[in-house]
């Protein structure tokens, strides 16, 4: 039963691709015979070629929007993600075995730092709001969305430095 379904699906995919190819071919032939006989020979070839490319472009655009193409794209992406996940797991285990930090370890540290940063920034926000309230001024930053979560910002409130050396772009 499953085999029949997958066979049907494969047949549908092939049929969609075949339809696109045939349409491209038909449109290309139509385009190829639209040139004006008064044109100089290289111009005729260019006109024919432009017509063929235009037809091909339209057919490919239609095909790349078709459910068959989208399904193939999804499968291809799933395979790429699975392969990458397997590689990550393998390299993670390998690094753990040699007692080196793996990507997972770094991610864990990064998340811990960002959570800490988030808590500090939230606290700073509260303190700033209290100071502003005491001074009777309104905050310069936009109001928070009710219930919205702060992501913890790396760059927020950490000012960079004006460049000391001035370099001309080469």
């Amino acid at each position: 039963m499953n085999e029949t379904t997958s066979f049907d699906k494969a047949a549908q995919d092939v049929a969609a691709f075949q339809k696109m190819c045939l349409e491209s071919l038909a449109k290309s032939f139509q385009a190829a015979f639209k040139f004006s006989p008064d044109s100089a020979p290289p111009e005729i070839l260019r006109e024919v070629r432009a017509g063929i490319f235009q037809a091909l472009t339209e057919s490919w655009d239609q095909f790349m929007r078709s459910p068959q193409f989208l399904e193939s794209l999804r499968q291809w992406m799933d395979n790429a993600v699975t392969f990458r996940t397997m590689t990550n797991e393998f390299l993670g285990r390998l690094r753990n075995e040699v007692q080196a930090p793996s990507r997972n370890d770094i991610d864990t540290v990064m998340l811990a730092v960002r959570h800490m940063e988030k808590r500090l920034l939230d606290r700073l926000d509260e303190v700033s709001a209290q100071i502003l309230k005491a001074n009777g001024t309104s905050p310069a930053r936009p109001p928070s969305a009710p219930g919205a979560k702060r992501s913890g910002s790396k760059a927020q409130r950490r000012r960079g430095q004006p460049a000391k050396t001035e370099s001309e772009i080469s």
């Binding site: 006989p37 008064d38 993600v81 910002s153 960079g160 001309e168 772009i169």
Partner: protein, 363 residues
């Protein structure tokens, strides 16, 4: 009435055409050996500039004009996190930035730098409420002017719109160049492809969105043009000096893809491409929600009629979503996404108008 088709005359033209083509082909072949060397010598950015501010990987470039700026309000270019920003200053005669510098604007460019794996946790909040706020604060201290004009290109335009909505007190004028705002349209293939894309699985596995993946996606938008027509056009015109220089400069930039920080990519795909939250004023950036109605400064939206990456349908709704009364749309029909910045028509028709519009509002 058209003249009857003269078959004999038609065929008699062929030997000459073949001979001409052979001669030109011989000229083209002589170019091949020097191509590699020439492509390596392509300059990235043409106008003189100095780095005035640095933070993490970010650099702010200040462009040096021949004379002092005539307009007090500084102008900041915000480029996308995809590709490098020197497309805005590609070469002499095809530089958006040079247009503004020559028109007397105090011009700055935000170069986000190239993210590494360590930056995969950076979010839109970091870029908009962090880096951009810091850059605008730095410019306020440097110039003494409270507000700056912001020009955002492509994804940088979307980020600029969010910034202007969250920090209206920092933006004097806003110009969006081919910026995607409304993601409901299915005109662009990117919107069709990302609709059911499992971005969580992708970012969890890859970290940053790889440059090669982005490059392949952009190429696949126009496979016939990119993989068939372009090489043919290159072969046919490679003996023309101006064409060759333009081609090598543009291709150098096109191949210069960079990864996008994973979390930013996740937010962009999930909140914009899949849920279209920006137009509904529900887009979360950190703990804030972007409300485009908060934008009350003068806005100009520039878009291209034949843009495959960001069709005009994605940019056009912006002017109706903002709270500004001073709104302008500039559409360049027949131009593409990159042509809008570097195309010769854009240089003649779009940028002088944009400079004039901004000059009136930068006193």
């Amino acid at each position: 009435m058209s003249s009857p088709f003269d078959l004999a005359a038609f065929w008699s033209q062929w030997p000459k055409a073949v001979a001409d083509e052979t001669a030109v082909a011989a000229g083209r072949i002589t170019r091949w050996p020097s191509l590699w060397e020439r492509s390596r010598r392509v300059r990235k950015g043409s106008s003189p500039a100095e780095v005035v501010y640095e933070e993490d990987r970010l650099k702010v470039l200040h462009y040096l004009g021949n004379a002092s700026p005539r307009h007090k309000t500084p102008l900041v270019f915000v480029y996308a996190l995809v590709n490098r920003p020197y497309i805005l200053d590609l070469k002499k005669g095809r530089s958006v930035i040079a247009n503004f510098v020559e028109a007397g604007f105090d011009t700055y460019l935000v170069d986000w730098g190239i993210p590494t794996s360590a930056d995969r946790h950076l979010m839109l909040d970091d870029y908009i409420n962090g880096y951009l706020v810091n850059v605008l604060d730095f410019l306020r201290e440097r110039t003494g002017v409270q507000k700056a004009s912001v020009l955002g290109y492509c994804m940088g335009g979307t980020m600029s719109a969010m910034f202007a909505a969250l920090h209206p007190q920092r933006v004097r004028n806003l110009i969006l160049l081919a910026a995607p705002i409304d993601f409901a349209s299915t005109e662009s293939l990117l919107n069709v492809w990302t609709r059911d894309f499992d971005v969580d699985k992708f970012v969890d596995a890859f970290g940053n969105c790889p440059a090669e993946f982005l490059q392949m996606s952009f190429q696949l938008l126009r496979p016939v043009a990119n993989w068939i027509e372009k090489p043919i056009r290159f072969y046919e015109h490679m003996h023309e000096e101006e064409f060759l220089e333009d081609f090598l400069t543009t291709e150098t930039w096109l191949q210069d893809n960079i990864p996008v920080p994973g979390e930013v990519y996740r937010q962009f795909v999930k909140y914009l491409y899949q849920k279209n939250l920006l137009t509904q004023n529900r887009m979360p950036v950190g703990k804030h929600i972007v409300n485009l109605r908060n934008i009350r400064c003068p806005v100009m939206s520039i878009m291209a009629g034949k843009d495959d990456l960001v069709p005009s349908a994605q940019s056009l709704p912006f002017n109706d979503l903002v709270g500004s009364k001073d709104r302008r749309v500039l559409l360049l029909p027949g131009s593409g996404h990159i042509g809008l910045a570097i195309g010769s028509r854009a240089q003649k028709e779009v940028w002088p108008q944009a400079c004039g519009w901004l000059a009136e509002r930068s006193t």
